[in-house]
Symmetry: C2
């Protein structure tokens, strides 16, 4: 499973304060720690600093790239910030988080991704709002994937995020998401899926436990990427278990490695 | 999810020794504890006492029924033992664990279940051996379900066990099982699925953790019953999480009840 480390997000108090204090060493440390814990990409988000977002997203990319060898996941609703960050990003191509069918995002981000090797998270959201059913997610996903393919983005670089919604709002939201994952993966062999998990537990107690549980359930439906906290040991152990139990981890090699490294619960 | 408590099984040393010492109070205590922890049925198995199995299975049923109000799951490869246990079982109908396509089992157990209200675990096993693929499981399940329906067993009383096989033997075994669960549930709306989990982790470390993880993955594919240790708190918490996240637990009522009772991890 492709792991995007989610911790360098200025909506988190620790990160916002570090940025305000220009304490980029703290952020570098968090990048290195997430990489060490198994993150394949390091998410960077400076969205709360609306007026300075492009400049700060660039600064976060530079900080992460000095601290570790993982590429960044450029996380912004602001195409100008993503464009600025793409310009300074070095080494293996970064990931864009995210393009959607919202016209003001789609029209600006599509040309940035077109014909390039960047990975793109294709979020199932449109100007009609958030999808509720699997059918609605599929309809948006199809249009996003078609648009990206027509603009010479490889299918292998497309990671559809079907958009997790809280089960406390509607008991069916979990299954509608899970069904969408399975149908997207089956309908486009070679495409990927990806999501943040934490919305699923919004409004409920024991949220960390619910998010950890939902990762296993989504993996069972084919989810092959997640934006998570890689310092959450149980979550990373669940990633290892999902690989062994779904068969994506051949001969359980990664699972056994995690066991030998003391990373699994008893 | 329908929970069958698995602990009263004479293949476990504690139970074998209690039976040998005629310490049925210990067994009664274990029945009550499993019921208290949420078991819907209490599995009873005296299979290691080959020569005395019918007599001892009867004794286990009587012991469990004096200790708690849950019906028994009569677990034996020996039709004579199941027949004897059925005769003494009182109150809500018990569960038979299990009928299969193996001729010597099928021919004797089918008449016992025919036209009755007992619940039947239909194990995907035949005289050709254990199935490896989802297709093989489906073929056996279809014949078992058809045979039970033709003998006036309600679809709602049929719990197909697609047979868990160890991923350490073949990385694909987990997914073949999971795919079978989904296809069986989709192909026969109203039928149930059920399984023991522990075989999946055979030959690997961190088995308890793997079994707990596999429960969530199987629930995500539609599994609605499991033969587990209800005293394993994490396992039972996972059952609660699976209900909330899959939508089978309307308004997350059971999940919230488990939370308020202090049964969930942080």
């Amino acid at each position: 499973m492709l792991i995007v480390g989610e911790l360098i997000n200025a909506s988190r108090k620790q990160i916002r304060e570090a940025i305000e204090a220009e304490d980029f060493d703290a952020i570098a440390g968090l990048a290195a720690a997430q990489r060490e814990a198994g993150a394949d990409y390091i998410d960077v988000n400076a969205g709360v600093f609306v007026d300075r977002e492009p400049e700060l997203l660039v600064r976060l990319v530079e900080t992460v790239q000095q601290a570790c060898d993982a590429p960044c996941c450029l996380d912004s609703p602001n195409p100008a910030a993503i464009e600025a960050a793409l310009k300074v990003h070095k080494g293996p191509p970064p990931m864009i988080n995210s393009i959607s069918l919202e016209k003001n995002r789609y029209d600006v981000l599509l040309p940035l991704a077109a014909g390039s090797d960047v990975k793109v998270i294709a979020l199932c959201m449109s100007d009609e709002g958030m999808p509720e059913t699997a059918d609605q997610r599929l309809a948006i996903a199809d249009r996003l994937v078609d648009g990206l393919l027509q603009n010479n983005v490889d299918l292998d670089n497309i990671h559809v995020d079907p958009l997790v919604q809280p089960v406390a709002t509607n008991s069916a939201y979990g299954e509608e998401f899970l069904a969408a994952v399975q149908r997207i993966m089956a309908g486009r062999p070679g495409v990927h899926t990806m999501c943040g998990l934490s919305n699923v537990s919004f409004g409920l107690p024991a949220r960390k436990f619910l998010n950890q549980s939902f990762l296993l359930m989504a993996a069972a439906r084919g989810l092959d990427g997640a934006i998570i906290n890689p310092l959450d040991k149980r979550m990373m152990a669940n990633v290892a278990a999902a690989g062994a139990l779904s068969g994506s981890d051949s001969f359980c090699m990664e699972f056994l490695k995690a066991y030998r490294a003391g990373k699994l619960p008893e």
